[in-house]
Amino acid sequence: MPLTEAIGEATINGLAYVGALARITGGAVRAAFSGPPRARTQRWRRAVHQAMSAGVEALPVVSLISFFVGMIVALQGAYQLRKLGAMQLVAAAVALIITRELGPLMTAVMVIGRSGSAFAAEIGTMKVDEELDALETMALEPVPFLVAPKFLAMILMMPCLTTWADFMGVVGGGVFGVAKAGFTWGTYFHATLDALVQRDIITGLIKSLMFGIVITAVGCQEGFSTGLGPEEVGRSTTSAVVKSIFLVIAVDLIFTAIFYFTAPQ
């Protein structure tokens, strides 16, 4: 195949995939806020169930990872700051990098591993076991029934998890700050709060919301496109993880660029 044709085909496929993600997202959002009240109540009930497994149960691992990452950022920052004799800036460095970038990103990576893959596996298994067909014969559409609760759970839980991850990251950085950079816990938190402006936290949370949407859409889309046979579930799970990580980073870049160019000088 000539190179131009290959590029063209890849572009069309890529756009079609993004289109499919948009369709699934639109369908889920519509279903979450429309439909008969009773069906809506059911969706919210399932959303709470999903929020427990995607959000609350993710707390330990998200806490630990962001604690470590906060510590790593402090160590790496200290390398450079030590040369400048500016160790007191460690708190600010950790605060900014964690809230703006690594808090949302590391949370997303954890959630992809725990929930994005689970969404793909759940829906994929349902497809293989004819459960999606069973839904259809019961006049129940899969997107409102299966995807809408996951969306609700994720757009609710991602900002919460990220906020917690931000806090744990700062605590991780604080351990180094207190041990090696001459801070007390009081001065460390004070320095953190001084370094942060509202915009840092809000942009991080907006990103986390977008990541949540991407992870759910990709996980569910990969589940629905599972082929025949149990081995296909494994394939779609892997594919959900790889595509989610790629798209989360792409979305991260886009939003970081938007925030950079719209930032007040």
Binding site: R38, A39, Q42, E122, T125, M126, D129, E130, E131, D133, A134, E136, T137, M138, A139, L140, F145
Partner: protein
């Protein structure tokens, strides 16, 4: 050669006409045509058994009837309406009057048996929770699963899963029930139990039932009428008695369980796949 099915050209009338009427149905799987111009009718209250070997197209036919496979051509009239030509929203109205029991049960693994049966009621009816609970108990009782409300599907045996799936299919009091291989993968005693359940439902509710199977003993027992599908065509239809007496070679081969002659060469194999001058077919 294959006996052509008789075509009934009469327009189905609402309520009084046949429950299901299929006309010149063609269904493709990708590029390959699985069903070639199939026509038949199922009368209201009748149990029709669709027989056929593996890959004959019988499951595809059932999927098309349930709206899970899109026909390439032809019509499927259900209760006087052309189901195949309807948009999905209208199909859903009819679907609430239809139930389907899948080969593996297709129960939702994350819900209890009771929640599975309650699902269509919760989603489609204004019934309150206490009424739903009663209906669920009633439906499970009908299939012989009283007291299993709180079990998860994974805790049930194969036969029990199928019974639970039937209870779920019955939840909305359907007028039409589809069964995909109800006795597949079950031991003879459990399979006989499922046959008995089908007979019981038939006697109690006069539901129109379409059952896909390759189990002859079960087919003879439950069928009012049967059709035999081979390579995407109906090659015979009639009452169990008529089928037993059929002298068509392909029908006899199926009923008498005569294996296909062994394929020896590539050409034979290709012919067997395409169905043209297939070995064993005269």
């Amino acid at each position: 050669m294959a006996k052509k099915p008789s075509r009934n050209e009469e327009t189905p009338r609402e309520e009084t006409g046949p429950s299901i009427s299929v006309r010149n149905l063609r269904v493709n799987y990708g590029e390959r045509e699985i069903l070639h111009s199939i026509s038949f009718e199922v009368r209201a209250g009748e149990t029709l058994v669709i027989l056929g070997g593996s890959g004959s197209g019988k499951s595809t036919l059932l999927r098309a009837l349930a709206g899970l496979a899109e026909p390439k051509e032809g019509e499927i009239w259900i209760r006087g309406k052309n189901f195949a030509a309807m948009p999905n929203s209208e199909r859903d109205v009819l679907r609430k009057k239809m139930g389907m029991s899948f080969q593996g049960g297709a129960l939702f693994g994350s819900m209890t048996v009771g929640e599975n049966v309650a699902l269509p009621l919760r989603e489609h009816t204004p019934l309150d929770e206490s009424t739903i609970e009663i209906v669920v108990r009633l439906k499970l009782d009908q299939v012989g699963l009283s007291g299993f409300e709180d079990y998860m599907p994974a805790q049930l045996s194969g036969g029990m899963k199928k019974r639970a799936a039937v209870a779920r299919a019955l939840a909305m009091d359907p007028e039409i029930l589809f069964f995909d291989e109800p006795s597949a993968g079950l031991d003879p005693i459990i399979a006989a139990g499922i046959d008995e359940l089908i007979l019981k439902l038939k006697a109690a509710y006069a539901i129109t039932m379409v059952v896909v199977t390759h189990e002859m003993s079960s087919a003879y027992l439950i069928a009012d009428r049967m059709i035999l599908i081979d390579k995407g065509n109906i090659i015979a239809s009639g009452t169990p008695q008529e089928m037993r007496e059929s002298q068509l070679p392909r029908v006899r081969q199926f009923l008498d369980r005569v294996p296909e002659p062994e394929v020896t060469g590539e050409i034979d194999y290709l012919q067997m796949l395409t169905g043209e001058n297939a070995p064993g077919r005269q």
